[in-house]
């Protein structure tokens, strides 16, 4: 079923090799990406270190299977579950084979407090399992400890073919301000500024070295990385669908787009949006985000972004696009500190506010006043109905309209 090509293993190792294969399959189900080559590597590695020390065995499997630090906890939990209880191994082997009868003892063996890993390990067979007592939950709106964090799932209408075409067309017109950075790479050029010695020599060989005509090159320009921080709180909910589709199209169009959604917590949906099909991508996003249309804690989520992500995604002259109404529910002190740090760690910070419905906007809200001094550009959309309008608002060089100081002065 996985098409893994395995090296022949000795009679004595057969059982262990089997277990490693099953372990790898379980990891794959738990969401760790594992290629068929990795399984062969793992068997190789374990054979090399020899069985004996559990720590060494753990380290050997880990260095082959874990390729991202984020996967570490999942691997740890899976390792603990898989290589300790024999019962679970048997169970999983039974489950992997489609013909195996459902075991009655399965549910009793599941301990309380098993993590999402074990859930993931069993996920494929949810359908076979007797239905649990829990009722089907469509909207899971419970208040957690913070009292204000509303966890919800969202449901967006799918995108029609016409809409997709329209989005693509609109995006072609998108030119972000300062959207070109000079790289240290070169390309051939006709402008006689910089000589390309290699091309010159190669060319000279065509004439046997009699004639050496200079060739030229120039620095290549590329688009810098784009990091999008989009607000999905209740006040923004009616625009969220347009944003997500815009972001999906953008991710397809440009290289190096990282997308984060925030309400009361921060979720990185870059990988989800990279799914080629827009509807599948949006569904993945919906599944990943736990706080749709809840409250807003801009300061706190920015703090998390700055701490955990800024150094990983803001390199190489990144542009940050922030989509939010700036209505902060919490204390604005933290927001001010964090937006200041964000501003200082990126090349350009663009704030897009979709909630400006009238022209005589004044920055009254405390959150807005805290953020304005720290953004490079403040763009507004007065009536957001389509991706086209979004593109129009974002395009073009920074004019006086986009200067954030304009809004601060008018008070």
């Amino acid at each position: 079923m996985d098409g893994a090509i395995l090296p022949p293993v000795g009679e004595a190792d057969g059982r262990l090799a089997d277990n490693i294969v099953f372990f790898a399959r379980s990891l794959r189900r738990a969401g760790i990406k594992i290629g068929p080559g990795a399984i062969a590597d793992a068997i190789d590695a374990v054979t090399l270190i020899g069985i004996g020390d559990r720590d060494a065995f753990y380290a050997a499997l880990q260095c082959v299977f874990v390729k991202r630090h984020e996967d570490q906890p999942v691997f740890d939990e899976a390792f603990r579950l898989f290589w300790r209880s024999r019962g679970l191994v048997e169970k999983m082997i039974a489950m992997m084979s489609p013909l195996a009868p459902e075991r009655e003892s399965e549910r009793q063996q599941r301990r309380a407090g098993e993590t999402r890993v074990s859930d993931a390990l069993l996920s494929g067979h949810e359908a076979d399992r007797p239905a649990r007592d829990e009722p089907e939950i469509e909207v899971d709106a419970r208040f957690t400890v913070s009292g204000r964090e509303l966890l919800r799932r969202a449901d967006f209408a799918q995108m029609s073919a016409a809409e997709i075409a329209e989005a693509k067309r609109a995006l072609a017109a998108l030119t972000l301000p300062m959207d070109r950075v000079v790289t240290r790479r070169f390309r051939p050029s006709r402008r006689q500024i910089r000589i390309d010695p290699r091309a010159t020599m190669r060319d000279a060989m065509r004439f046997g070295g009699e004639l050496i005509l200079p060739r030229f090159r120039e620095r290549r320009l590329i688009q810098p990385p784009l990091v999008v921080l989009a607000d999905i709180s209740g006040s923004m909910s009616q625009y969220t669908r347009i944003f997500l589709h815009f972001l999906h199209a953008l991710t397809e169009e440009r290289r190096r787009v990282q997308t984060f959604l925030f309400g009361t917590r921060l979720t990185n949906v870059s990988r989800q949006l990279r799914n080629r099909d827009p509807d599948a991508a949006i569904d993945d996003c919906v599944a990943a985000v736990k706080d749709w249309s809840g409250g807003t804690r801009i300061g706190e989520t920015l703090h998390e972004f700055n701490r955990r992500w800024s150094r990983r995604v803001l390199g190489q002259g990144a542009i940050v696009l922030m989509i939010t109404d700036g209505l902060e529910r919490d204390d604005v002190g933290e927001l001010e500190v964090e937006i200041d740090r964000l501003h200082r760690s990126c090349r350009r910070l663009i704030w897009l506010n979709p909630l400006l419905r009238f022209d005589g906007f004044e920055a009254r809200a405390r959150g807005v006043r805290a953020m304005l001094p720290h953004v490079d550009e403040f763009r507004a959309v007065h009536n957001l109905e389509s991706i086209g309008e979004l593109v129009k608002a974002l395009s073009g060089q920074g004019s006086r309209d986009a200067d954030p100081r304009r809004f601060l002065a008018s008070r």
Binding site: K33, R198, M201, M205, G208, Q316, R341
Partner: protein
């Protein structure tokens, strides 16, 4: 074959590193041993200053191999990473052969595109080892380059060969020991990681860090170093923007030793905090009441432990 000097077990790997003052946990020793045996590149990820680069240096010394280092930066290209032709010398060669009356075009071409005019950059050096002893090839801070160079590395790391259009393909007689480090300022593509063995280098535990200080800063007295480690370990649990790495701990211990301090006190910490923390926000925080509280806790803890 130079495999005689290669460690034959995890314990030997660990001992080898320890002999050169590098303390590795079981996980790191295992991964390193496997990388050597399976001849796979080792991909080390972790915060700045936890000793990723040091591993390569120590390994080169311990195995008595040359160390070839490729420091990555944005826009690193083939000309500065792999090879370049020596253009002025080529130009001169053409003029010389003209002067001597040679006109055979083929001859001149094969003359000026010969190894004589090839400037070897780190990647090519690592692949074409002279005496049959594969070097340790350190690709440092890979996350600083762009995706284009990463894609190029795929060929090098899977086949250990480089293709020069004018000259042909150069293949490594024995694959080099490749160590790649990154600070995670950017995600490295899965395709590259797949070819490597992955290890996350974490901050060391207290006992291990104490031993590191004992080895690296011999002048530091026992009480002071215990206080330093306890303080630093506790500092890492505080929500700082940048946690101090092992390198910073060593710097701090050296600084305090140079200042002839025998124990930590708030003033000394305030004066030398710059060696430990590198962000103004963090320094301002620890300089104040929070730092004093931290120190009091550390002292109490050490007192209780005896």
């Amino acid at each position: 074959m130079a495999t005689e000097s290669m460690p034959q077990s995890i314990e030997e790997t660990s001992a080898l590193l320890q002999a050169h003052d590098y303390l590795a946990g079981t996980a790191l020793a295992t991964v390193l041993f496997l990388a050597l045996r399976m001849k796979r590149p080792l991909f080390l990820e972790g915060e700045a200053g936890v000793g990723k680069t040091e591993i390569a240096k120590v390994l080169a010394k311990a195995l008595d191999r040359p160390l070839i280092r490729l420091q990555c930066y944005e826009g690193l290209d083939v000309a500065s990473a792999v090879y370049e032709w020596n253009y002025p010398a080529q130009m001169l060669e053409i003029r010389l052969s003209e002067a001597s009356g040679k006109v055979d075009r083929k001859r001149i071409e094969s003359d000026i595109f010969s190894e004589r005019f090839l400037i070897r950059r780190p990647v090519l050096q690592a692949i074409s080892s002279e005496d049959g002893r594969a070097p340790v090839f350190l690709i440092d801070e890979l996350d600083r380059t762009d995706e284009a160079f990463e894609a190029f590395l795929l060929e090098v790391l899977s086949d250990f060969q480089v293709t020069i259009p004018e000259l042909g393909t150069i293949r490594a007689a024995e694959p080099p020991i490749v160590i790649i480090t990154t600070n995670r300022t950017r995600e490295i593509h899965d395709a590259l990681k797949r070819r490597c063995l992955y290890h996350w280098v974490d901050y060391p535990k207290a006992a291990q860090e104490l031993e590191i200080i004992r080895r690296k800063v011999p002048g530091c007295n026992a009480t002071l170093s215990r206080e330093i480690i306890a303080y630093v370990q506790r500092l890492r649990t505080v929500d700082l923007f940048k946690n101090p790495g092992v390198a910073e701990t060593i710097d701090w211990a050296t600084a305090l030793t140079e200042l002839d301090r025998l124990a930590l006190d708030p003033e000394t910490i305030a004066d030398t905090l710059g060696t430990l923390l590198k962000y103004q926000d963090d320094i301002a925080r620890i300089d104040g009441a929070e730092g004093r509280k931290l120190l009091a806790e550390v002292k109490a803890e050490l007192l209780a432990a005896g």
